[in-house]
Amino acid sequence: MSAVQGEFHLARGNFRLAARFTLPARGITCVFGPSGCGKTTLLRCVAGLERAPEAMLKVHEQVWQDTREGVFLPTHRRELGYVFQEARLFSHLNVERNLRFGWARVAQQMQRMRWEEVVEWMSLGPLLARRITDLSGGEKQRVAIGRALLASPRLLLLDEPLAALDAGAKAEILPYLERLHTTLAIPVIYVTHAIDEALRIADYLLLMEAGAVVAQGTISELIGRQDLPLAYLDEIGTVIDAQVAEHDADFHLSYCDFSGGRLSVNRMDAALGCPVRLLLRARDVSLSLVHPAQTSILNILEGRVSELLPRGAAQVLVKLELPGGISLLARITGKSAHKLGLRPGLQVYAQVKSVSLVR
């Protein structure tokens, strides 16, 4: 049973939002799409900060909004947490009193988060007595996330929480966000236009274009779906969830196993057995009919062609099926596909020039 069901229709000037979605009971759903596609508007509608003239929203079987029934719960009566792009801490309160703002407004028997727990997760202890003006960008965003969590939300909304931060602060915050997967038993909606962020933290993707939700599902479900007008997915390629199997100290490599084989990546600091998410960009995958023996490329995977998807005039996106039912995408030229005589069912070897670790 889906935990969150929503539908929003809203027109504003030339922009039209027409979005319908369902989210699972836990896990992070990334709302991903280009700037101006209506991601933030959708999030604000969910929070009740924008009032769509035609809308339906059900969270854990509780109706938050239904224009047909005339139901509209104002924002302060929706059990949610909202993290804004610019932290938006109250400048007249110190860190602790910012954190207590939502915490104090939830009746004790309704509190689902423990104060000490959230303070520890977000490493807020040393900041509690500080003034807002004395915080760095990353610290501010950590306080904002903690403040939202302490309001005991049943749905957590994050609107590009990293967009306003520099690379250093981003790297500081990301581990905290990733931890939300395992620590939070509530659905999280995370808006971003940065694909690397989405790949790193998403369990599910909700793809938006021009105000509409064009697809939703797990990352592996979405990638390679040819009905999606998603040029950027070619840039992405395949996401593979694997486990660290071995470290190679001599060559500074780590080997990761997944159902379709083994991949080598640059040596990482992770315990054996640790789950990792790897990204194989479609443009970094080339194909060969025979097993390449003398090649500089380490990662060679065996699979069968399942589909050929034309991409533009000169390019073809080849979808391969690896053992274990995993799809792998390769982007090659139409000429190469023709020369190799690629067709569904053909056995090929994929050479993966680079594998990047996304998580």
Partner: protein
């Protein structure tokens, strides 16, 4: 040396204090509305609020005299309801001062509310704060310097008024004779030393008030930014 009559001073302070309270009570919702509305009537209302800035006080006083007088629509209605005559009375002065000092309270508050914007209110709403809760615990503390400025300007401007009081209050000792009128009287009567002492007192008082406000605002401003 004659004793300095302090009655006009107390009357002035009382008038300014009452007017300031009335102005804060009326000006806050008005400024809030002006800061947040997208209604077309906004510009007209802003112009109306700003009128006392450009009108000679005698013009305002003249119309008030007509309106509040026993034959004016406000005065007649008031008296028909059993009220005491408004002109040449303390309540009449409060009404006149309120209108006269309105822009000095509404404009700083409106600017403050506009500067605060919707963002902190939205955050507070996502943290379960209902509308009144948001106003009291977010807007009021954030707008503290604005409230202080508005109250001070409203108070000081009321203390300094002359034309409106003269028109609708006249010059009745203990009831409508405020400091500015008393000083004018003393000068007319060539009692320069009394005029001097009252004037000097007003000067010192005004300076101390403004100085305290600027000091406080600086301290609060430093904390907020």
């Amino acid at each position: 040396m004659t004793e300095l009559p302090l009655d006009p001073l107390w009357l002035t302070l009382r008038l300014a204090a009452v007017t300031t309270l009335v102005l804060l009570a009326l000006g806050t919702p008005l400024a809030w509305w002006l800061a947040h509305t997208r209604c077309r009537a906004k510009s007209a209302l802003e112009a109306l609020v700003a009128l006392p800035l450009v009108l000679p006080p005698t013009v305002l006083g003249f119309y008030l005299l007509l309106a509040l007088g026993p034959h004016g629509w406000v005065g007649a209605t008031w008296q028909a309801l059993g009220g005491a005559p408004l002109v040449f009375s303390f309540p009449g002065l409060v009404i006149g001062s309120t209108l006269y000092s309105l822009p000095f309270v509404v404009q700083p508050l409106q600017n403050t509310f506009t500067a605060i914007g919707r963002a902190p209110l939205e955050v507070a709403a996502t943290l379960r704060a209902a509308p009144w809760d948001r106003f009291l615990h977010v807007v009021v503390p954030l707008a503290r310097p604005g409230f202080l400025t508005a109250a001070t300007l409203g108070f000081a401007h009321t203390v300094g008024e002359f034309g409106v009081v003269l028109m609708i209050g006249g010059n009745i000792p203990d009831r409508t004779r405020v400091v500015s009128i008393a000083i004018y009287d003393h000068v007319e009567a060539l009692q320069f030393s009394q005029a001097h002492r009252l004037s000097a007192l007003m000067l010192a008082f005004s300076f101390v008030v403004l100085f305290s406000v600027y000091t406080l605002n600086r301290r609060w401003g430093g904390k907020a930014s």
